[in-house]
């Protein structure tokens, strides 16, 4: 593209391209700045020394919020519940969703359109409606709200995302590899474990991580179906009405640093690998 611009004969066109490229870059930089502004506030205020119950205005630097963030009453148990539900629900949703994705891509069966619709529907349903309908179900069945109902809800909203993510990976899958394995005497089961699964593993992992992230962050659906159980977002919600402790910022900052660190590491590894495979061995 750059080459094409440089071969254009008129100088005016080149300088116009130059200006435009920089306008775009400035715009993109501003957009990124906008995205990070609230995060900067979250991190900054984790070092704030709030005078009252609320952590809204800057009072002075302190490290005390970082000393024992989990010591704040109720916070550690809320985080524990969030992590447990995220791990369990992402595992179950990933297993169920991967099976659906495999079936959808592999087998032509009647009613595929309906199955696709059933997977698409939860993604286009507003969260309040989904939360409310689940509550209507649990009330109708007389089910006690709590850990189990949150778990059920999280698996539900995660399945669709898993199906979509794994399907994307499966579409570019070369079936000849499986046929080759079968020709070499592997049965279907062995072929699946030794060939299919390793090849689609990146898609499954990505889906699992997405499900985990969605689960940890979910507030609305959980709020409707939690009963007396408190997850981390529910804890923040409760705190927002009474008092927002700076420890919440500490936890927010920690989640951010861990998630970004993990993703950065992943990108670095991929880049190194790409460079290594690009250079002649």
């Amino acid at each position: 593209m750059t080459a094409a611009a440089e071969t254009l004969p008129r100088r005016a066109t080149i300088s116009f391209a130059w200006v435009r490229r920089h306008v775009l870059t400035v715009y993109a930089a501003l957009a990124l700045l906008y995205l990070f502004l609230p995060i900067a506030i979250v991190i900054l205020f984790s070092f704030n020394n709030p005078a009252g119950r609320f952590n809204y205005t800057w009072q002075g630097f302190t490290l005390k919020n970082w000393e024992n963030p989990l010591g704040y009453p109720g916070l550690s148990s809320a985080i524990k519940v969030s992590l447990e539900i995220a791990i369990l629900s992402s595992l179950v949703a990933t297993a169920l969703g991967t099976l659906i994705a495999l079936a959808l891509v592999r087998y032509g069966f009647r009613g595929r359109g309906l199955v696709n619709l059933l997977i698409f529907m939860p993604m286009t349903t507003p969260e309040v409606v989904m939360g409310a309908s689940l509550l209507a179900l649990f009330v109708g069945w007389g089910v006690q709200l709590g850990f189990v109902t949150i778990f059920i809800a999280h698996v539900l909203f995660n399945i669709s995302y898993v199906v979509v993510t794994v399907k994307a990976r499966l579409v570019g899958f070369d079936r000849h590899l499986e046929e080759a394995a079968m020709d070499l005497g592997a049965n279907e089961w062995t072929t699946f474990w030794k060939v299919t699964l390793p090849l689609i593993m990146p898609g499954i992992l990505a889906a699992g991580l997405l499900a985990f992230a969605l689960s940890v962050d979910d507030f609305v659906i959980t709020y409707f179906n939690s009963g007396a159980t408190t997850t981390f977002p529910l804890f923040v919600w409760g705190a927002a009405r009474v008092a927002v402790p700076a420890q919440i910022n500490v936890i927010g900052t920690t989640i951010f640093v861990v998630a970004v660190g993990a993703m950065l590491a992943n990108i670095m590894i991929q880049n190194t690998r790409a460079r290594r495979s690009a250079s002649p061995a």
Binding site: M1, A4, A5, L8, F16, A17, L24, T25, Y27, A28, L32, L35, F36, L37, P38, I41, V42, Y56, T57, L96, G97, L99, I100, A103, L118, T124, T125, P126, E127, V128, V129, M130, A132, S133, L134, A136, G140, I152, A153, V155, L156, I159, V216, F219, V220, Y223, F224, P233, V236, W237, A240, N249, G252, T253, I255, F256, V260, M263, I267, N271
Partner: protein, 271 residues
């Protein structure tokens, strides 16, 4: 293979919808409701809460439009100028959203607060009156909604822009199309699927949201999500809440279908 997953979706998505529908036609006071084909619930819900419905779609529409304006150039820049660092820039876009939704919204409370930097600057510039506020206004709520659903806009836009074959643009320029014209006739039409997906993925959660109105607004900014939430969880008028939920879902479904048709035909004629 399909059975376990579909069973989960059936039991916990379709069956609840049946219960929600049944509840919406019930009458009575908590906890005693009786099924009565009470269609009047729908009529009452719409006449009582029409304002909040209108406001939800207004806020969601404005937020989606702003998100598109912010996201398109950013996605474009990453897709065409990102080079080797595309993934890194993409990470930068998603990274802020690893801070819990509610914490991000609370951060906006701080940013827009009455004695905050933004409000003070706007007052000094005379844009905001001497006792003008940002927090607790519709501006704050729309700002919060726009920010909170931004990745849903950026990612589909990026995916569709990234897939565009650069040779098509070079061909357009070889045929003496200006850069702007090449953009309008080649890039933009090819990125429409991303625009379609992005606006839907932003608009739907935005229309059903109640957190931003609750944390950044006042009851005068409440959206339909706030009403459904309080009818269900505080007032416990399940039938009204269920009727409201159904209307919201119905409007969104109808909107999605119309929108799909509009954009579909536009692509046929304009592409």
């Amino acid at each position: 293979m399909l059975f376990p997953g579909l069973a989960w979706l059936g039991i916990f998505f379709l069956v609840p919808m049946y219960y929600l529908g049944k509840t919406s036609l019930e009458r009575g006071l908590f906890p005693l409701f009786a099924f009565q084909w009470a269609w009047s619930n729908f009529h009452d819900a719409l006449s009582l809460y029409g304002t909040q419905f209108g406001r939800s779609f207004e806020y969601a529409g404005v937020a989606t439009a702003i998100a598109l304006v912010v996201s398109y150039p950013l996605a474009y820049w990453i897709a065409f100028r990102g080079g080797r660092w595309k993934n890194l820039f993409l990470l930068l876009v998603i990274a802020p959203f690893f801070v819990t939704y509610l914490i991000r919204t609370l951060a906006w409370q701080t940013i827009l607060s009455d004695d905050g930097f933004v409000a003070n600057t706007l007052r000094q510039l005379g844009i905001l009156g001497a006792d003008g506020r940002l927090l607790a206004t519709s501006v704050a709520v729309v700002a919060g909604i726009t920010y909170n659903f931004l990745p849903f806009m950026v990612l589909p836009l990026y995916v569709s822009l990234e897939q565009i074959d650069v040779r098509l643009l070079e061909a357009a320029q070889d045929l003496f199309a200006s850069r702007w014209r090449a953009f309008l006739r080649v890039t933009l039409p090819l990125s429409l699927p991303g625009v379609f997906a992005g606006t839907l993925l932003t608009f739907i959660p935005a229309a059903g949201d109640f957190i931003n109105a609750q944390l950044l607004g006042t009851p005068r900014q409440y959206m339909i999500g706030n009403v459904i939430q309080s009818q269900f969880l505080a007032i416990r008028d399940y039938p009204t809440a269920a009727a409201l939920s159904f209307v919201l879902m119905g409007i969104i479904l109808a909107g999605v279908l119309v929108y799909a048709r509009l954009l579909g035909t536009e692509r046929l004629t304009g592409g």
